[in-house]
């Protein structure tokens, strides 16, 4: 069985970010980048599956500039077997990424695509579903537990009101939620050791143009500064001044 792991390089989810002064983009001058946490959960899951079944092959793939190599190396250090960097510096939107991934799926023929439900910077929550649609494959989003049995995959998924279980035939696209697992910690030496694992550089296969343009980046309006209250009595008085009596 082959598992494809689409990886996005994202702004460090714990960084404080601001727009550039002229609103043309996000100021990434002083921020670090990392593997999208949800994609990292997907890699962890695939690696755990492989630990149980060594015949599984896991391939991480990322579309972006040369700098995405750092994130792919981290995935290799976590245990992915090989990585593909599709070098691209042009503008993308979720749909161009889905089209590019589709072209790679046709070449690599994975049985399962495991990827984050969303990125923590773009927050689109689209690529998995779009890719599944383009391929005509079934999908299970927001996975919190995955079991593969024969040609089927059973996914317990988080929903707006709790959780539910889906059963779907392979090949399929599954997107990961926070509680699927806790990814292993990879220290720098591990990443350096992974230097020997194969990382292939390739060019784009799809020429789909984005149909969304991001034209302006601003800070959201700040909440006006509040104040401290000394005790519960003061709190309730302050609230009732604002028209809320509990």
């Amino acid at each position: 069985m082959r598992i494809l792991l689409p990886i996005k390089r994202v702004i460090d989810p714990y960084a404080k970010v601001k727009p550039l002064g002229d609103g043309s983009g996000i100021d990434t001058g002083n921020v670090k980048f990392d593997v999208n946490p949800f994609d990292e959960i997907a890699v962890e899951e695939a690696v755990r599956m492989k630990e149980k079944d060594p015949s599984i092959e896991t391939i991480a793939i990322s579309i972006g500039g040369a700098e995405c190599e750092d994130q792919l190396r981290k995935c290799l250090a976590m245990g992915a077997d090989k990585a593909i960097l599709v070098e691209s510096t042009r503008e993308h939107d979720p749909s161009t990424i889905a089209h590019e991934l589709k072209a790679w799926v046709e070449e690599l023929k994975p049985d399962l695509i495991l990827m984050g439900k969303q990125s923590t910077d773009g927050e689109s929550n689209q690529v998995g579903q779009m890719l599944a649609a383009l391929l005509g494959w079934p999908q299970a989003t927001y996975a919190s537990k995955i079991t593969i049995e024969g040609g089927n995959i059973e996914v317990v998924r988080e929903t707006d009101s709790g959780e539910e279980t889906l059963t779907l035939p392979l090949p399929a696209v599954v997107t990961t939620d926070l509680r699927l697992n806790e990814p292993r910690y990879i220290a720098l030496p591990g990443i350096i050791r992974a230097r020997n694992k194969p990382l292939e550089k390739a060019t784009e296969k799809s020429n789909k143009e984005p149909n969304i343009r991001y034209t302006k980046f601003q800070s959201p309006p700040a909440r006006p500064a509040g104040r401290k209250v000394a005790n519960v009595t003061e709190l309730l008085a302050a609230l009732s001044e604002r028209g809320v009596s509990l």
């Binding site: 923590t120 689209q126 969304i212 980046f217 601003q218 909440r223 005790n231 509990l246």
Partner: protein, 295 residues
């Protein structure tokens, strides 16, 4: 793109579309996947008892949705599941979590845990989008010109083998006027329920949780508020034992009043709270509960 279609999962959602529809400024129809109601010129009623899995459903929606230039959903996990699939089938552009509409092709949306608001322009073709109803006008009159039953026959290869019932009793986070949220220090599920649940019930409030609380088994996953949980906008949000991470604040900053109760006077949440109380939540919450007149 002359018309818009608002796809609603249930009748509660159909009450939430008029504000966004007015901002969009296009003539529109609604599709009710389950439940009755609707808004706009025409309401298509599909009448599902349980809305089927996204793969088959998106395909069943193709012929109807193909007639619209803009297809909109109220933001939720289930709507994003379906909308992304539909956008893929239509090869359409998609925007997630629209918070403002400049025109029928220019929209605002949050990114990077609410730190950035982006303006996105659709350059051509159909657009599928989800929107946050709390950012649009509420209580606009909603009328429906006519209602038409529509037979959708999805052939999903995905089967829902176990569905969980909605955890009952308390108001829904999305609709609640008051939310009481607890974080990591609530210790365990029983403490969370006793300390937070008791106050919430007295106030007629919904209960929320941080990711730390959900991850450590203190609270159910559907209670998570924040960037990757529920986005809420109540009149009053009481956060007890919540540090105020960017990810949590991303989900609550449209609340009218935020109250923070935290033992650490330097906790980041105090920067965004209207009223901050530096006190142990295990004494503060019972005091509030005792003093409140309740509903």
């Amino acid at each position: 793109m002359s018309r818009a279609l608002f796809v609603c999962f249930d009748s509660e959602e159909s009450a939430l579309v008029t504000g966004c529809a007015a901002a969009l400024g296009l003539p529109f129809d609604t599709l009710m996947l389950s439940g009755e109601g609707g808004a706009g010129d025409k309401s298509f009623v599909a009448g599902f008892e349980a809305v089927p899995p996204a793969d088959g459903l998106a395909e069943a929606l193709l012929s109807l949705s193909g007639q619209y230039g803009r297809i909109a959903f109220v933001s939720s996990m289930r709507s994003k599941d379906l909308a992304g699939r539909l956008a893929g089938l239509l090869d359409a552009a998609m925007l997630t979590d629209v918070i403002a509409v400049e025109s029928a092709d220019t929209f605002h949306l949050p990114m990077v845990a609410g730190s950035i608001v982006t303006t996105a322009k659709v350059t051509d073709g159909t657009l599928v989008f989800t929107f946050r109803p709390s950012n649009f006008a509420k209580d606009l009159p909603s009328t429906t010109g006519s209602t038409e039953k529509i037979a959708l026959t999805p052939a999903s290869r995905t089967q829902r083998t176990k569905a969980a019932a909605r955890s009952g009793g308390r108001p829904d986070l999305a609709q609640a006027k008051i939310i009481v949220t607890g974080g990591r220090p609530l210790k365990d599920a029983a403490t969370f329920e006793a300390v937070l649940g008791g106050l919430a019930d007295k106030l007629g409030a919904a209960v929320g949780a941080t990711r730390a609380a959900v991850d450590s088994g203190i609270a159910a996953n559907e209670l998570q508020v924040g960037q990757t949980g529920k986005i809420v906008a109540p009149d009053l949000y009481i956060a007890a034992g919540v540090s105020g991470s960017t990810q949590h604040m991303a989900g609550i900053k449209d609340s009218k009043i935020i109250v923070a109760i935290n033992t650490d006077a330097d906790a980041p949440i105090f920067e965004s709270a209207d009223f901050g109380l530096v006190q142990d939540l295990f004494t503060a919450l019972p005091e509030i509960q005792a003093a409140a007149k309740g509903t």
